[in-house]
Symmetry: C2
Subunit: 301 residues, 2 copies
């Protein structure tokens, strides 16, 4: 089956709602290339282009893409095969009212800084950073509430997680028929935390394959990421403490199911291996992961 391309112009959303209408439907097992624009939709093309306040529409997510047969309770498996940057520069910006150090006296906003791409690196002044693209916003139609593409929650959305990158696989709970996958808001590089509020925001082509897991071994409540070495639960909440609790509870559930642990045993075990990781601390809800090495968690789904 030839790889199918989904172009940004065919459809993009700024809100994940329970009622999303797909722009295309694909069979499980389909390989796709998703074209995405940068999170600011081209508004920043030089250091002089600054963003005064967060736009009403930001983080356009190309899609939604329905997966045939996807039914609430199933799990959507999205294997990220490659992410190619498709413009000659990304941009890092500060916006007044946004970012970890927003309002600190020595931090200026709005500011923009172009980060030109040259082959496999991008530059920030004299410094060169290897390009390591991340998908910032990726998710499915939520259960009940709607969430703009600035917000992460149980459906995914603006997760801003460095592990959502080529070579890894993301799993989403399916809340609505067809799942309704959409993604965008890529970064050429991003730190864990995304402190200033952005990575190097850039347009990309993303190669993925999508598949379904029917009757998963556990009931997935939130996104899950598989890296070559670990499984990582992903949770978003008002505070990092609350996000940590959810991510840890999800990890405990997976450990308990695989090892027939009591919850307290799984909790103790989770305190010995892998651990909590910060995804981002700047979006309206913040996101934390709990990593469990595959040595201790072979195949949770």
């Amino acid at each position: 089956m030839a790889r199918q391309t989904v172009r940004h112009e065919e459809g993009a959303i700024y809100e994940f709602t329970p009622e999303l209408e797909p722009i295309t439907e694909v069979e499980p097992g389909t390989e796709l290339t998703i074209e995405t624009r940068d999170s600011l939709d081209g508004a920043v093309q030089s250091d002089a282009d600054v963003i005064e306040s967060i736009p009403d529409e930001v983080n356009a997510a190309t899609g939604p893409i329905a997966v045939a047969g996807a039914t609430p309770g199933d799990v959507l498996k999205v294997e990220i095969e490659a992410i190619r940057v498709t413009e000659p520069a990304g941009r890092v910006i500060t916006i007044d009212g946004f970012g970890l150090l927003d309002g600190e006296p020595d931090i200026a906003a709005p500011k923009s800084r172009m980060t030109p791409v040259d082959g496999e690196t991008l530059s920030f002044g004299d410094l060169e950073i290897p390009i390591d693209p991340v998908i910032g916003t990726i998710g499915v139609a939520p259960q009940e509430e709607s969430y703009t593409t600035l917000v992460p929650h149980d459906h995914g959305g603006n997760l801003d997680t460095t592990d959502i990158t080529a070579g890894n696989t993301v799993y989403f709970p399916i809340f609505q028929p067809g799942g309704q996958l959409a993604m965008g808001d890529c970064k050429a590089a991003m730190a864990d935390g995304e402190m200033c509020g952005t990575g190097s925001e850039i347009a990309t082509d993303i190669d993925i394959s999508v598949d379904l897991i029917e009757s998963p071994a556990v009931s997935l409540q939130r996104p899950l990421v598989e890296t070559p070495n670990a499984w990582k639960t992903l949770a978003s909440a008002e505070t990092m403490e609350d996000a940590s609790k959810l991510a840890n509870q999800d990890a405990i559930g997976l450990l308990a199911a695989e090892h027939d642990f009591e919850p307290t045993e799984a909790y103790m075990f989770s305190s010995l291996v892998g651990g909590l990781e910060i995804s981002q601390v700047v979006d309206p809800l913040v996101t934390v992961r709990n990593a469990i090495p595959k040595t201790y968690l072979a195949d949770p789904l």
Copy 2:
């Protein structure tokens, strides 16, 4: 100069105070072996030994050790050469009122679980975990306030950070003459986050060498860790958000000094490489790191 041993019986503290009196004084460049007891001072020797509430005295830190010539404004460099576990088992425990999931209905406290050591691994039931010891509590005499060894702050203390391990170097600001280094509360293994409130708590012998950096290139406010690949600022605060801010501000300061960046430039750059990492989320103050790869930060001190 022969390696000098500091035995737990010679002295151990349960509070870092500005007025600490040393049990010994060593010259810069001295190699030491520090004997430590487990954080619970031997109270848990079987799964039946439970801890009803946090003891008034916990996390005994062997020391204090004065370093000759250490003067406020200098930096104390502690190179961790090796950490050897010195008892046949560690223990993981839950205590009512403590831990990330304290009070959750399916989490039981108090509970204790011995984790026997066999060569290079420890066991948790059928699962084997490689021993990778961490120093939980390490610090110097603080500037003004006193902190029990349960609390981390700018002087160090109960940092519970997996990077404080063999092969890495920890740097502390010197607030008081002699510095007054003390350490203990080791774990045979610990997850980032230390979610249940402990790792596998265990007695150890720690090989370190201590040295002074006089007139450091930057004024160090809080601990800093050097790993083979990165420099990591370490900050403790009431919330993870506040700890993240402090850790990021410290990282920005180091980046700005090395690259002659404006603070906003350094902030933007910090949002592209390395990033925020969780140390622990369970102590009275929580601890977050900001890692900067050495590629971008060669020698901040």
